[in-house]
Symmetry: C2
Subunit: 294 residues, 2 copies
């Protein structure tokens, strides 16, 4: 049996090495800003998004680190940017993230806002260091700006905040939030890996669909874990999403149906991936998404 | 004599029309987010940055709106993103901008943070709609991520906040802040116009140098106007930068020396531009930068 946990641990180690390597060096920007960016980038994390870029890229037999690593690590920059802003007092007001004080608890709100901004901007700086040709870089940037923008992650965050404020939660709202806030970015990472590898349109469409399903299953599983984990497992207070008035899948559909749905989405993703050669590891990751515990 | 005020007014009108045209439409993203983005984008402004892109591009006899307008308007998106975040309570805590309530005063802090994020991300979405070839788009993105990132605008903002907090202000600090927070972005707009037009390396270097000088003169003039304008002219409380502990050129060098320096920088910029054919309008803009009143 494939050791998916061991695989993810190895890939995380590799991604972490490149994160360290690419981090801004002494003399680049104010030192306090570098420190704040570094703090959140290195505060743990599964590195799922970069790993999805890498695993998808490698399906096509590619293995050029100069090409793909800047692109993969850039996704972790973007993810960290969204987390720092999400945790701010004006938004989710979280004191802990991955078991550590959030960025604004350590560096103050002003620096947390600017460190988030900086991570997003520097993600493009990093991405553009890839040796991929300009047309592929442009396609990748198109995916990022579409999947992170007002119809993607940021749009989802806005709806998340609004629904919480208005105490509105129903199937339509939770679908809107989860599709945009989480699924779109997970899908983007898989699309980016495929574009970088130069995959054909038909395979791209399939990977994109599988990615969206995996992303939604990932967020539903997050909602489930928020209810069922211990504080140690979760790295923050469990049940906070529900009690704070967040619109979650578990709140709308209940725990059991949420588990069923996540399982169903992954089965569908795997059956799409069955039609793509060499996608075994991506299938293992898909399976792991619903099986994982923190 | 060339009517620079009339010219800038005309170009602003043109830019405003394209801003309206490019704004996200109904159905794209949550309506409250579109509204918050729109509010700050359309809350006035000279549109200096897009105009610098256009004027520089046109030096080379180019006039393809499909190519250049998405790129020019994207700079106003980015500028507005930096203003919204700059005005936040955790940063400059400004209630007024261009005579109107700031974004967070109208939409709340959470939405202001996310609207800023969205404008920045959507600037890339917009930019990528340009019909410019991928290699030029990549070069433009490289300029943006360099000049806005930790060594550019964001780095300058961090130093601005830090120097205010620590009440530190001296020539080294004010140069650091002004070079990065303002000059680098003004220079970027001129560089972007030049790249879009396909200008040669030697001319690019000259334009870049002139742009840096114009940008620094622009910020010094801002510092001067902050001391010498009425609230109506300024659209916000005059003298606030000085009294709030901001490190300004006037505070370090005094009013008279600041005026001299701005004049000197512009003279130098104009003398560089003298060596570039058809740069008359850019020279007029350079002159206007130090002569302007609000």
């Amino acid at each position: 049996m494939f050791d998916i946990k061991g695989y993810l641990k190895e890939r995380k180690k590799e991604v972490d090495e490149y994160i360290e390597r690419y981090l801004p060096q002494d003399g680049e920007g104010p030192s306090i800003l570098r420190e704040a960016m570094r703090y959140s980038l290195l505060a743990g994390g599964k590195r799922l998004r970069p790993i999805l870029v890498l695993t998808t890229y490698e399906i096509f037999g590619k293995n050029d680190k100069e090409e793909i690593m800047p692109v993969a690590v850039a996704q972790e920059y973007i993810h960290t940017f969204t987390l720092i802003h999400d945790d701010l007092p004006a938004l989710d007001n979280d004191d802990l993230r991955r078991g550590k004080p959030t960025n604004h608890k350590v560096y103050g709100e002003a620096m947390a806002i600017l460190a988030g901004d900086a991570l997003f901007i520097e993600s493009f700086n990093l991405l553009l260091k890839s040796t991929l040709p300009p047309d592929k870089l442009v396609s990748i940037m198109e995916i990022i700006s579409r999947e992170i923008g007002i119809n993607g992650v940021i749009g989802g965050q806005v709806m998340d905040i609004e629904s919480e404020k208005k105490r509105q939660c129903n199937p339509e709202i939770v679908h809107y939030i989860h599709e945009r806030k989480t699924a779109s970015f997970i899908r983007a990472c898989i699309e980016i890996g495929a574009i970088a590898a130069g995959c054909d349109n038909k395979t791209f469409e399939r990977l994109s669909r599988a990615g969206g399903l995996m992303g939604l299953a990932f967020q539903i599983t997050d909602d489930i874990l928020d209810e069922t984990s211990t504080p140690e497992e979760l790295g923050k207070t469990p049940g906070k999403d529900r009690t704070s008035g967040k619109c979650t899948w578990v709140k709308v559909y209940g725990l059991e149906k949420a588990q069923e749905e996540a399982r169903k989405l992954i089965d569908e993703a795997v059956s799409i991936l069955d039609s793509i050669k060499n996608s075994d590891i991506l299938k293992e990751i898909a399976q792991f998404i619903v099986k994982r515990s923190y």
